[in-house]
């Protein structure tokens, strides 16, 4: 019984106290920087349209018996961007997010806490600076001791473009392998298994997860990996100086993927095309394709200011700051705890 463990193991109790303190510090940080906390809905009419994520779906009934299909958010992105269109300039949400069909392992719980923020007039470079500030503010010490390693967060964090990372760790010039066919040839020559339906992303990840990511997660400094191939842009804008890449950034720290951010895509037409493609992908994979959030599209069409946004996994941040190896050590009750 987990509550008994918490009662008897002083470390677990300490971790929960640290978690409460960290949540307070995150709010302090954003308050000091002039951000407004948005308490947006967790249950929404239109779930996030991301083919690689599975939504928790539920049925809402009103008092006349009418039924509505609803979903739990995988991220508060649509809500926050609608508010940017409504002239809010610096906003964040610190809340639970939900992802179905995820493993129950050391770094995952089906329900987890994210801090997601947006700022107008900024880009992904500003986001990287802001993340460094935030983590230093919360950690206080300038150093994080995690699983026997010292992460010196008060020294400059490593910033690597995808192209630099592939060059450095796989000795491959990514510029030459930015199509499905060329990436396929590369994967084949390296001895990977190839399937008919492997997309560019799949082939990219087979090589990246084997040859590059383990070396990045082994670095004791935090690493920002930025400029993803445009096929993996998600909701980031295409790089003006090099349209083969998109302004997306991921943060790796202490062996975790800790944050994912974008110079946001604000082009209505382009967004519509990407959503249609994502729906097509869902159908191809035989899963229900979430409908497009019409309200979100209307907000985009009305004109969204230039902005940047990022989401950072709070449970993992707490793990780093409490030297916890398993997410269950920093969350009162994980879904796994409740099944035992």
């Amino acid at each position: 019984m987990k509550w008994l463990d918490i009662k008897n193991n002083p470390q677990l109790a300490e971790n929960l106290k640290a978690r409460g303190e960290i949540l307070r510090l995150i709010r302090d940080f954003f308050y000091q920087k002039g951000f407004l906390e948005i308490d947006g809905p967790l249950m929404v009419r239109y779930g996030n349209l991301e083919p690689n994520l599975d939504l928790f779906n539920t049925t809402l009934k009103d008092n006349f018996g009418a039924e509505f299909k609803m979903s739990l958010i995988t991220s508060p992105e649509y809500t926050l961007k609608k508010l940017l269109a409504a002239n809010f300039e610096k906003i964040y949400q610190l809340s639970k997010c939900f992802r179905n069909n995820e493993p129950w392992n050391e770094g995952h719980n089906s329900e987890f806490t994210m801090i997601e923020w947006y700022e107008i007039g900024k880009d992904y470079t500003d986001l990287m600076n802001r993340v460094e500030e935030l983590v230093n503010f919360v950690a206080k010490d300038g150093k994080i001791k995690y699983q026997g390693k010292i992460i010196e967060i008060n020294k400059p964090w490593l910033r690597l473009s995808m192209q630099e990372a592939w060059q450095k760790y796989a000795n491959v010039d990514l510029n030459n392998f930015l199509t499905r066919d060329t990436m396929r040839t590369l994967a084949l020559s390296k001895g990977y298994t190839i399937n008919e339906d492997d997309s560019f992303d799949d082939l990219f990840f087979k090589i990246f997860l084997t040859e590059i990511e383990p070396q990045i997660t082994a670095i004791s400094q935090p690493v920002f990996l930025y400029d993803y191939p445009v096929q993996m842009a998600a909701l980031s804008r295409v790089k003006v100086s090099d349209p083969r890449y998109a302004e997306r950034v991921e943060l790796y720290m202490g062996g975790f993927e800790l944050a994912n951010g974008y110079s946001e895509l604000i082009d209505f037409e382009e967004q519509k095309q990407r959503f249609l493609k994502d729906q097509e992908k869902c159908r191809l994979w035989g899963k229900p394709a979430p409908e497009i959030d019409t309200d979100f599209m209307a907000a985009l069409e009305s004109g969204l200011p230039v902005c940047a946004g990022i989401a950072l996994g709070v449970d993992r941040l707490v793990m780093l700051l409490t030297n916890a190896k398993d997410i269950g050590e920093v969350v009162p009750f994980t879904v796994k705890d409740m099944m035992l």
Binding site: E50, G191, Y192, F205, F208, L209, T210, M232, N260
Partner: protein, 186 residues
């Protein structure tokens, strides 16, 4: 054929006409990506290790292997000897093939030896094995702030494990052979 999702340690697969033993595997879900399985494989013919990542729903060819119940006898340098208690036949396996497993062998332990075309490739250990503690630091109180609520102890076969502070030399404990973690007092 089988799905990559179903592989486990000691699964034997055929890729591009070569036979591989899966020695390590890890499910990875990159942000904004599908699910993948990162593996370490040992080529049975060349003995070389390689790393490969598969999509988790990919099909791979599983190779049928024979599993023989055998008893661990002793090791002589790199070679580990096992005996079939029915036929008294003895076989030897190179320690390189028993990485992460030989640490939990003790004399008389029954294991499954994985054979492919008559050649022993690896073993599967019982999930939990009882060991006697031959050496343990005295329990130190406090120091809970760093999360250090365990101490080091040496098992009868020389392997070191982390145990709770109350465990003393001479006691028997149960160890999880998959994770190497202390489970409980025997």
């Amino acid at each position: 054929m089988g799905s990559v999702n179903d592989i486990s340690k000691d699964t034997i697969v055929r890729i591009n006409n070569e036979i591989f033993l899966i020695t390590e595997f890890q499910h990875v879900n990159p942000g904004k990506g599908s699910a993948f399985v990162r593996t370490k494989l040992k080529n049975i013919r060349t003995g070389k290790t390689m790393e490969i990542t598969f999509k988790s729903n990919e099909s791979v060819e599983f190779v049928a292997v024979e599993r023989r119940r055998m008893q661990y006898l002793y090791n002589n340098g790199h070679l580990y000897s096992f005996m079939d208690n029915g036929s008294y036949e003895q076989i030897e396996i190179n320690g390189d093939l028993l990485e992460g497993k030989k640490e939990y062998l003790k004399e008389g332990l029954e294991v499954n030896v994985i054979m492919f075309e008559g050649v022993p490739l690896s073993i599967t250990l019982p999930n939990k094995v009882t060991f006697k503690i031959i050496d343990a630091e005295p329990g130190v109180k406090g120091d809970t702030a760093s999360g250090n609520v365990t101490k080091e102890a040496t098992l009868e076969n020389g392997t070191k494990v982390r145990v709770p502070l109350f465990i003393k030399e001479g006691e028997e404990i149960i160890v999880n052979t998959e994770s190497g973690d202390y489970v409980e007092r025997a």
